[in-house]
Symmetry: C2
Subunit: 510 residues, 2 copies
Amino acid sequence: MLILERIKVAFIGAGSAIWSSRIVMDLLIHEDLRNRVDIWLMDISDWRLNLIYGFAKRYIDELKVDAKVFKTKDRVEAIKDADFVINSAMAGGHSYYEKMREISEKYGYYRGINSVEWNYVSDYHTIWGYYQFKLMLDIAKDVEAYAPNAWLINVANPVFELTTLVTRMVKKVKFIGLCHGHLGFLKAVEVLGMRLAKEKLGRDITSLCAMHDPECYSTIAKLIDFKDLEVEMSGFNHVIWLTKFRYAGEDAYKYLNDWIKEDAEKYWNVWKEFTANPFDIDLSPAAIDMYKTYGLLPIGDAVRGGTWKYHWDLQTKKYWYGPYGGPDSEIGWAMYLAALRRSLESLAMAVEDMSTPLVHRYPPQSSGESIVEIIDAIVNDKPKEFYYIYVPGKEEKIKVPAPLQVNIPNEGILNGIPNDVAVEIPVKIDGKGVHRKQLIQPPHKIYRYVLLHRLLRAEWALQAFLEGGRDSLIQWLVTDVRTKSMKQVEDVINALLKIPENEEMAKHYS
Amino acid sequence: MLILERIKVAFIGAGSAIWSSRIVMDLLIHEDLRNRVDIWLMDISDWRLNLIYGFAKRYIDELKVDAKVFKTKDRVEAIKDADFVINSAMAGGHSYYEKMREISEKYGYYRGINSVEWNYVSDYHTIWGYYQFKLMLDIAKDVEAYAPNAWLINVANPVFELTTLVTRMVKKVKFIGLCHGHLGFLKAVEVLGMRLAKEKLGRDITSLCAMHDPECYSTIAKLIDFKDLEVEMSGFNHVIWLTKFRYAGEDAYKYLNDWIKEDAEKYWNVWKEFTANPFDIDLSPAAIDMYKTYGLLPIGDAVRGGTWKYHWDLQTKKYWYGPYGGPDSEIGWAMYLAALRRSLESLAMAVEDMSTPLVHRYPPQSSGESIVEIIDAIVNDKPKEFYYIYVPGKEEKIKVPAPLQVNIPNEGILNGIPNDVAVEIPVKIDGKGVHRKQLIQPPHKIYRYVLLHRLLRAEWALQAFLEGGRDSLIQWLVTDVRTKSMKQVEDVINALLKIPENEEMAKHYS
């Protein structure tokens, strides 16, 4: 393949500034990319666009790399002749979601009509994702028209629905859906480490780990030889499962079973007391209950899923997900939005404050996201199945290999899933693109209870978007456990569609 | 192929006497079968077995055909070396269903925990079908062991789940799932006839048809040339749809559209007044609403499906299905069970009363079931895609060709459905067996809203049967719109499992 001289990377929705700044940093510190990358930032918000532009500009200057950065509000200008288009745009932003949620709750739909089985993630648009779906399709069509050789890498939610939608509708575009949720496999490694510490050192680090003490990771890193660790995860985005977990040639689920029997209670007691992060749920009672129920450990955002068993109300959520009820309760989500705002403010202040180098406040370090690793694999034709992430240890960062995991059409990889449905699977990437691997199949219970169920809702959401009509909203609601009558269904639809933001959507659904 | 001298046809669950007597009659009046068929009747109930045996015996004598009939309570004896095994056995009988339903209703599950979206048919076992699934598997294994060349034709419900189960688990057995629901396409023909009568004769027969006056069919039969009619139906058992409806080279759905616009109200007014049959719902407001919602006319038992929109409570059912709320309301089903009992009594009296020839009370006529037509096609190597049914006209019966429609594994016929899921499709049958045909695909709405949804529940029911565990019942109930709390879920499971009949099932689900 042709090794490009300069590389154009376009960020659509670049104003997702916390996220974009981390990827921009990854590009600017990558040895084989930083001196030839042209970064194009596009957003519809001036303030956000200027913020991320200011960040990139200063970072390039301070690092003295031969990168360039451009900003534009014109999507086509950003996309034209790009080699990579990265989309993180969120139609309507968080305020739109919150408004939709508030109206839903007035009519008895706790956390929104969008929140249903296997999809309680609070910003994962499905049935009310009209604008988000439309935006994604428009972007894909622009890429097809103005940058036909580009890779379109989408990190905007809902990754599952959007990947399925685009790969069905805009077939020529090289599309990858990306999520970092699979890094949750580190928590399984932590369990392995806790057990090895007990068995090999006679040392109980359960409480240290529950408190996220760097000592926990330092101890584990000395015990585990990552060459001997085999993990595989697959499923759909936000519903992936640890289908393979082996250490030193043996089934490592036995360590998890022992941990559940001997250490989980202790871990949970400390964790409940000390956890400050509503997302800290990878080893929560919910995760372990799902493991017991479905036979494999749910990874990353999969833990936020499940059925109503875990999500009836705040009390239920607290029982399963700890003191904040997980990230998707009214408490957890408010904390997340507040943290986002704080990070944005800090970023803005840091970019504006010329008295302190930006690299002091945001020291160069890789983000743990795989996106720039993927760009490197493609651009520089470096075959990769893994990339490295860094976990904080006591004295130094601990380097852990993580599988490259992407969302692409199934094409026969997972049994019983149609070919044109996006699956999240480990892959090999090189200059020729993305290559599927043979995988271990998820067990029947996960296929039947999780994947088929989640697929059903995805197809309903796609149907609603593609063909519209009021029936598609009725269909969604009439099988919802929160629905008590057809009147409730009609009322909530009317209320959601009559807000000014939904004028266009109301026509689509009429 | 070898044309067999004598043919052994075994009836398992032969005590489903109303049904069996019709099939026995079909065998005994069929020119190419009646003089060489050995009928083996098997049931566990002496009374029922003696009843159907008495019927067959007398019928053979009166018709003077060279058929033989045997009775046994030993399943293996019946199956051994059979050419065809016909199963209509219903584990536990109707009383088991009614008991399960009654307990469910105490805990807020109207019409039973078994009645859910796209499966409100009152004797279509799914989640509580443990004994029925087990019986079917046992029969299939007996056929595999004792009659490996036989065709196993199953008419016992749930045809969808049982066909999928057996064809997955007992792969060597030649299995056909059968239902007569597809004959509901005659109602679409009736609509065509009503419109043609208006257009060609200037005659409005809407009311006649709504009252099922034989004059309706006589008029239609004169107008329609069945050679010019093309119909195709596909889907899953009890959720099939009229994918093709053409007359004289034109789309015949236009007649339906005109009928809905101009005649439906009048039809419904007469129908509501006159209908005496809770199953008379093929052109009910529910059927037409489903057509408007999903884009095709639902055929036969598919009309009994739908979502909770049509089934919330008796009032809702009456609105959509007429004065009895359809066959699956508390009224309609009680009427059906009473009618069954009355028919059984009449049959018993007729068999015992030697003063009147049985052929006077049950005159020889074909039942409209396809089963003996299928046996004929296979045994006598007669390639068939259609068979003839008879509709009552004013002076004579009207002969109508109906497609041969069976339930077999999909194997790529319907898009997006896994290969090992049973679909109900039209086929060609000959001495070599059952041949799939290329079909028109159902529209997206039906794939997404109906087939995927129904498949989900089938897979859950199969999972519950195959792997057991309390979780599989919880999974079923936790997404049910009637569920208000986890306590309700636990309570109804406990109540259902503690009745004496469910002792074995309780172990399976513990």
